[in-house]
Structures are given as C-alpha cells and as structure tokens.
C-alpha cells in the first residue's frame, strides 16, 4: 500500500516537473506579456539532447526528484499531514512546509497544536505519536486509563466509607470528630467528584475517538530529520533494519541459557546456544551483538528486552557465553529468550540512525534537497555575477578589461576554503551566508573568462556593430544581442560546476565548517561515519551512495549537454 503511494508520488513528481512546470512557466511569461519564441537552433539542440538518452533520463530523474523534494515536509516528517479531533483540524506538516518556504517571516506561522485541543490533557504541544496511538486503537489505549481511574475511584470511595464510619463512631460517643478527619473527608469527596468528572470527560473523549471523529494522516515516512529515534532499542547509531547486504549483519538466531559469572571482571553473563527452535544453526563468532526479543504478543512491533554481546565461543562454535550490555528498563533476561542479531526486519528504521539517533533516511532525503538547492543557488548567482563581469570586460575592453583581469587573477588566488574555514570556525554560517561566500569568493570567476572571450569575438560581428550604430544602449546590446549568442559555454559548463559546488558543500560540512549543526546534510553524516568508521559502515556508505549517485547523474547530464550544445567532431584518418 505504502509502496504504491510512494510510486504515485514519484510519478506525480515526474509529471509535474516535466509537464506542469514548463506549462506554468509559459503561462507566467504569457501573463507578463512576453512571447516565448525559441530559435530553430535551440530547438535542434534540445532535440539532440533528448536523443542522448542516458543524459535525458538523468535530467528527468534529477529534476523530478528535486521538485518532489521541495515538498519533503509533507512526504517525510515526524508530524502528521493532518490531524482531526471533532471539529478541530490542524495541518502540522503543511505548517512545516510553509515555514520552510516562508523562512523570511515569522509570527502567525510559529504556532503549535495544544494537547488540550486534541483530547489529551495539558497545555503543551501535542505528542503526535501518542495521538496517533489513540486514533489507531482507542479501546486498547483508553481501556487501561479508564480502568485505573475507576479503581482509583473505588479505592477512594472505600476510604471515604471508612472515614465516615470513624466519624459516626465519634458522634455515637457524643464527641466532636477530630478536625483533620473532617477535612480529609471533604478533600476526598471533592477528589471523587473530580475523578468522576474526569471519567465522564474521558468517556466523552473516548467517544470522539471511537466514533471515528478523530483522525490522523501521516506522511509517507513517519520520521523527520530533526528528532532522534528514542523509540528504538539499544544505542545510536543503529544498524539499518532493512536487510541491505553488507550493511546489515546477517540474520542469526540463538537462545539464552542460564546465568553465569563471566571469567573476567566477574560481570554478569549468560550461556547461549546457536539457533532457535525454528531457526537455522550457524556457528557463533565473538563480538557479535544479539538483541533479546520478547515473545511477540500481537502482530505489533517486536520488542527488545536487552542487548548482549558474545564474549566466549565454545570449540564446536554452537554455544558460548555472552555479556549483558544493556537491559531495557522493566524487563528481565530469562533463559529461553530468543536472540537475534537484528531487532527489526521492518521499515521501522530502514537505513539505521546517525550517532545522535536521527533516522538516516530523512537525513539523506533532506540532505539531497539542501545540497541540490545550495548548488543551484551558487550556480545561478555565480553565473549572473560572472556573466555581468565577463560581458563588461569583453564589451568595453581597454583599461576596464585589464584592471578586471588583474583583479580576477589576484582574487582567484585567494584560498577560498581556507578563508571560509577561518570565518566559519568563529561564526556558524547559515545557508545563505554560505551561498554568498561561495559566490563572492569563487564561483563567479569560473565563467567570466569564457564570457569575456565570447563577447570579444561577437562584438566585432556585423550584427552587433549594426545594433550599436542604430543607437541602442550598451546594456541592450550586451544582454539582448550578444548574450543569447554566447550562452553555449555557459550551459555546457553548468552541470560540472554544479558537481563542484555539491562537493564543496559536502567537504565543508564534513570538516564542520558548513551549514549549522542542526541542518540535515550529507557531509555531517559522512563525518559521523568517519567517527564510527569501524562499527557503523552504513553512515559512510549511505551518504556516499546518495552523493555519488546524484553527482553521477549530473555528470551524465553534463556530458549530454556538452554533446548537444558544443559537439566536438574529431576527424580521424586511417
């Protein structure tokens, strides 16, 4: 079911990106009164680009994924898209989405859902997981609470009865009852009334849930990139729970035996035997971590009572001793408990968690958006500045050209990573500061020389001279006449610059001089992988896989674009 939904979202993303956005773009242009006309040359190039299939498909994949990722908050988030309780309706994830895109303003958007309004007592923010639990199974959730409340009431009533009897005894003796007894009685009676009211309230709340008037709609993936997964057993970083060959330990089962004292340190240990009643038997090896699984009661999540690690293996390899690493509070480890090297085999944390216990899947997804968005920003801003500078140099020539050339030569030698590191070691640069830094220090120069050369050549052409002769302003000549004819190097270079900027961001984040520490980023994940190099390979492999795949696709686009816009024909004689 979920799989179909994911597929649907992806298809919608592709359709929206490839059909919807061009349509909207043209519509806006038409509204603005600009008629979109493409030259036959440009159309030929686009046709040629589309004919190089690997490049074109990469283009479709990357752009579609990026536009889809713009809506990540409603697709991958730890907040529901919509919650409903009676006639209270809220859209927490949608609010997140608007907060992301309207980052420049705050105020009305910085509200939260109060627990009280959604049937859970308290003024604080609503715990969505708790709410969802109530919605999913109100009987099971409310039953114990109601029972507790009822038993509380009956206990209190019995107490009241006792106190009354005592007072009656006093009165029968003709004495005044002691003051504190009377006070107690009054307080207890009040309490009973309150509890009864509470019970009524609980009943009315339960009724709302039972009647199906409360509802919750979750995003496709229920965990976000900011909250750590406290619901998972054991300590972070967790291995992927989805079976990924090489990353997830092979499934191996065993059974706990009786308790023993470990030989060294006298710590508590237990005997184990490999294999379980149902499972296969494979030899144990030292330093393997096992999760002790509680016998499943219903079809819900498997629960973990504790974690043990193999310290001693017997000669035949099928039995040994384990040390108890941790026991879940409120649980005990008994002989006969089933052990497994994997605690889950579900989509609960398919790609594992980072060292702070944050789910890796949302980190990768949000990291994709940040990386691609960042590089796009740097690319566009850098090209605007670079094209302007190059145009001025090439068009005016003379002293302007010489001075700017010298300036670029000097500026280009500034070790930019060094400077960013110095500044970033002192202040945490945000997304925009980093973009501006990269543009000013580096990205604009890459294109300037080529644009300058193009302008130099085009300026001598007749059509430009004619335009200048007819008295058109310099700016118009540059932007309207020359620029469209000198876009080839700009476009064919862009994907490769894009790759560079993604690498730059990943490097900066890896070193800890990039985006603020709370922002999801591939580089920081890599850094954590670097710290847990020997124990958590998934923290290296997954971000590298994400980055390399993205960059690989972009390079494919780049090759195709270069082939389509700037074909090199090598003649060869034999």
């Amino acid at each position: 079911m979920n799989f179909i939904l994911v597929l649907l979202v992806l298809v919608a993303g592709v359709w929206f990106t490839q059909k919807g956005i061009p349509w909207i773009f043209k519509g806006v242009l038409r509204l603005a009164g600009i008629r979109w006309k493409s030259s036959p040359l440009a159309e030929k190039r686009i046709r040629r680009f589309k004919s190089i299939r690997r490049g074109y498909y990469s283009f479709v994949i990357i752009t579609s994924l990026f536009t889809t990722s713009l809506f990540l908050e409603v697709l991958v988030n730890d907040k529901p898209v919509m919650i409903r309780y009676g006639d209270q309706v809220a859209y927490p994830a949608v609010r997140d989405l608007t907060n992301t895109w309207c980052f420049f303003m705050d105020g009305p958007l910085t509200t939260f859902d109060r627990s009280e309004d959604f049937g859970i007592p308290g003024q604080g923010p609503l715990d969505y997981t708790e709410f969802a639990r109530l919605v999913e199974n109100p009987e099971a959730a409310f039953g114990p609470i109601v029972e507790k409340q009822k038993s509380d009431i009956s206990e209190l009533e019995m107490e009241i009865e006792d106190v009354r009897m005592e007072i009656e005894e006093y009165e029968a003796d003709g004495e005044e009852p002691e003051e504190w007894l009377v006070e107690d009685l009054a307080a207890a009676e009040k309490q009973v009334v309150l509890l009864r009211d509470g019970l009524d309230q609980l009943a009315s709340i339960e009724k709302v849930f039972l009647d199906g008037e409360a509802g919750v709609v979750w995003p496709l993936y229920r965990h976000g990139p900011y909250k750590n997964r406290l619901d998972l057993p054991g300590t972070a970083p967790h291995d992927p729970s989805l079976y990924i060959p090489g990353l997830t330990p092979a499934r191996q089962s065993a059974m706990l035996g009786e308790q023993v004292d470990m030989e060294y340190g006298g710590r508590l240990g237990m005997r184990i035997t490999a294999g379980s009643e149902s499972g296969d038997q494979s030899p144990l090896s030292a330093d393997t971590k096992f999760y002790a699984l509680k016998p499943a009661i219903d079809s819900g999540l498997v629960e973990v009572s504790g974690i043990v690690i193999v310290r001693k293996v017997s000669e035949d390899g099928f039995s040994g001793e384990v040390e108890i690493l941790s026991i879940t509070p409120g649980e005990t480890l008994n002989a006969g408990l089933e052990l497994s090297t994997r605690f889950l085999e579900t989509w609960e944390a398919p790609l594992g968690t980072s060292d702070a216990g944050i789910d890796v899947l949302p980190l990768l997804a949000y990291g994709f958006r940040v990386s691609v968005g960042f590089s796009l920003m740097v690319l566009v801003a850098g090209y605007i500045v670079g094209i302007l500078a190059g145009a001025i140099m090439g068009y005016y020539g003379g002293w302007t050209d010489i001075l700017l050339q010298r300036f670029i030569e000097i500026w280009g030698s500034v070790p930019f990573l060094f400077l960013i590191m110095i500044v970033a070691s002192i202040v945490d640069p945000g997304f925009w500061v980093l973009v501006i830094f990269l543009v000013i220090l580096r990205s604009w120069m890459a294109i300037t020389y080529q644009i300058r050369g193009e302008f130099y050549r085009e300026k001598a052409r007749d059509y430009v001279q004619a335009a200048i002769g007819s008295g058109v302003s310099d700016m118009t000549v540059m932007m309207r006449h020359i620029l469209p004819n000198s876009m080839v190097p700009v476009i064919s270079r862009a994907p490769f610059s894009f790759v560079n900027y993604i690498s730059s961001l990943v490097s900066l984040d890896f070193l800890g001089f990039g985006l603020p520490p709370t922002d999801p980023s591939w580089g920081r994940l890599l850094n954590q992988g670097f710290q847990f190099l020997t124990t958590s390979p998934h923290l290296v492999f997954l971000p590298v896989l994400a980055m390399a795949t993205t960059l690989f696709l972009v390079v494919l686009i780049g090759e195709a674009v270069r082939e389509a816009f700037d074909p090199k024909v090598f003649s060869r004689l034999r």
Binding site: L419, M421, L533, P537, V540, L551, R572
Partner: protein, 511 residues
Amino acid sequence: MSGMWTYFARRLLLVPITFLVITFMVYAVLRVTPGGPIEQLENQMRAAAAQEGGGGGGGLGGTDVGLDEKAREELRAYYNLDQPIPIAYLQWLGVYPRKDRTPVTLKEREADPEFWDRVEVAWVNFRETENAYDARLQNSAAEFRGSTLLVEANAALPGEEAFFQRAGELLSEGLASRSDLKQHLDSKGWQLSGTRFMRPVTDVELAENSGWAALVSLASDKDQAFENLGSILAEQNKEASRRGSYYNVQVGFSGILQGDFGRSFTYNEDALDVITQKFPISIYFGLIGYLATWLICIPLGIGKAVHHRGLFDTSTSVLVFLGYATPGFVACLLLLVLLGGGTYWNVVPLGGFRSEGWGLWWEQGEYWRCIKDQVHHTLVPMFGYLVGSFASMTVLMKNSLLENFGADYVRTAFAKGLPERRVIYVHALRNSLIPITAGIGHFLGIIFAGSFLIEKVCNIPGMGLLGYESIIRRDYPIILATLVFGVLIRLTGNILSDFIWAAIDPRIRFK
C-alpha cells in the same frame, strides 16, 4: 620572443601584489573576527575553573575567572594585537619596525644598581598611587571605562525616565535583545555593567561631588606615575608592564621577510620549524599520488582516444564519470571502511604516516618490514589523490590526443605510409603529452601543501592537517605561515606551468 619575456615578467610582477593582497586579507580577517588567542586562553581558564568547581559555577560564575585588564593588556602586547591592523600587518611582513621585548634578567639589574634603584622608587611610587586609587574605586560604586568615569544610573534622572525604562525593558528581554540594548545605551554613552546601567558623569557633577573628583585626580596621578616610570626606563631602552615586569626593548625589523614567522601558540616552537617538519610528509604522499595518477590516467586516456566511441571507451567512461562524482577524501573514507579492519577486511591501517615503531625497526635493520609498513600506510591516501584528479586527467589526455589525430601533420604521416602504431604513439602522442606535462605546475600546490581533506581522513600529519588544526586552534602564526607557503607555491606553480608549456611547445606564444 621578447613579447613572451615581458609576459612572464608581468606575471612575475603580479605575484608580490597578489601575495600582499591575499595575506593582508587573511590577516585582517583573523584580526577582525572574535575568538583570538586571548579569548581562547580565557575560555581555557574558564573551562578549567568550571571543572575545578565541580561544574557548579554555571554560566555567570564563569565570567569572574577571566583575565584582569592588566594581564589582557600585556598579552595584547605579546601577541602584537595592540597595534592597528595595517601596522601590525607591516610588522608581520617585516617592513615596519617592531618592538621586540625580552624580559630583563637579574644579572642585568645587578650590573647597574644605581639605575635600578631609581626605577624601583618610581615603581613603588606608582604602586602606592595605584593602591590608593584602587581602594577608592572599590568603595565608590563608580567605574572607569577608558578615561571617562561612569556611575550607576540607579534612579532615573530627571528627563531620562523614558530612556531608563526602555533600557530596563530591553534588559529583561534577555540575551536576544542584547544588541538592541547596547545600541540603545550607546546612544547616550551609557554602559551595561552586569545588570546595572552606568552613565558618564557630567562636568557639573564632578565639580560638585568631591569623591568623584578625587577619584579622577587619583586616576591621572596613577597614569602620571606610570609615565614617570616609563620615562626613566626609556633612558636605557627598557619598558615596564603594569604588573611590574621589565623588558628590554629592541626596535628592529623582524617579519616574514627576515624569515621570522613568529612562534606557534600551540607547539611553542618557531612556526617555520613546525612547517618544515611537515613538508616532507605532504610531499611524499603528494608525489606518489601524482605519479600514480600519471601511470594510470595516461595509458587509460590513450586507450580511450585510440578506441574512441568503441567498447573500451564507453565502458571506461563509467569510471571517469564515477571519478567526477567522487571527491578524493570520500574515496579514502570508502577504502578505510572496506579495508580498515572494521566490519569487512583488515588490509590497511586506519591512517597515519608510519607505524609507531618504524624508526626502531629501521635501526634494527628490518628494512623489509619497514617497506611493507610504509606501503600499507601509503595505499589509501594514494588512492584518494588518484581519484581526486583521475577524471579530469584522463579526459584531458584523451581529448588532447584526439585533437592531434585530426591535425594536418598526422594526416601527412599517414599519407607518407607510416604504420598506424608509429603515427599514434610517436607523432601524435608526443604532442598530446604537452598539456599534461605543463599541468605539473598546477599540481605543485597539492604536491607540496597536500589536500587537507585527505590528510584529515587518513590522519597524515602533513601540511594540510597542520593548516586545518591551526585554524581550529587559532594558531595565528601557523595559519599565516601555511598561507604564505601555500599561496607562493600556487602562484609560482601556475606561472611555471605556462612557462613549461611555452618552453616545450614552440607553437604556444603568450602575449
């Protein structure tokens, strides 16, 4: 030819200018940004104090531990932070005289008792006035900021109620509006001291309040006494600090032009020495990486060009694209995870230049073990450098050879009836190696200075890691020294590349 010489002369002329601009920029950035050596020291002291106090001190208590004004002043002088940026920069460069302070030794003092007695009298005089001043300052609720006397604006002055009230509001809003508060107070010259507002004393008040007037006069007495002390010491080119240490002062030029890069704050060694220790390590890995790149990329590029659009070309293109898509340090990380002995295979060590016992083994004559160990440590960084320049180098080689295939002289060679192998591997290849050879200048930077990402990942104690760590620790002399060498190598490398190009390819003419 003469046009070319002027071209290179101009390029060389530009080197010093570029160098000056870059170093000045970095110098200024280092000076302007907060978190300098003194603040680092204070943070360390605070951390130490917090640990001693069992962490009970908390946020506000920590501020008490900072350096006092005098110590700060002395440190500022020590780190040359008391000069304005341009002058300090010129001093660092070695073209502006700098005061070199060395402490006066006891022997020197015994050699000239008469002079030092005079100094001692002046010092005692200064201490007395200072003590009197301190005592009075302690009793008053006033404070000195520079030369202006500040008193607490506890009750709102007539006409200033609104101002005071607004300041109080801003203060209660907490740290978020601290900058607003500062701006607000600055507009009237007020200051924040703890949670009190201090306002400057007007001249009229000063005339009326004898206590304040005495304080001001004591302050000037104290400064006067210190000046007296200074003028006595100046007779013999000496100086005193306010904490009572005496220094010999020598005015002279000592900056990077004289080979003085300053002392490293963290290593407490001459910065130049620290760097020269690290250079060979970076050069070793850089050179090996570069050689590996050559050995792999050139044959691969040739093969791709010869079989252009063939099966070999297309299949190796995937490798090239992957090379574009993987930065060098990421490749190192991957290798370390796979081969570093964690979850998978245990083939290579997790980093470092050599094993710890390497020197010992060498002395004991276990050369084979030494070589094996060195090779083990070299594999991963070499692969990183290789991946870093693999794609661009291969494509450069391929395209350059393909371009030569289309050239007239190749056509002529074919027309003469030469065998294909000879045309490709002798005629065309020699010319297509020119851009690759010339590129060596651009690699100089990496060969000498290392890539700090790869050095960090592989834990190689080379120049790159040194630069990275010096930035983290704010070790200014080392930061600047690595910058100087990095920039110089890069600048000369680029010119060298063009020069080599022009020297081996007579068709290339720069103008």
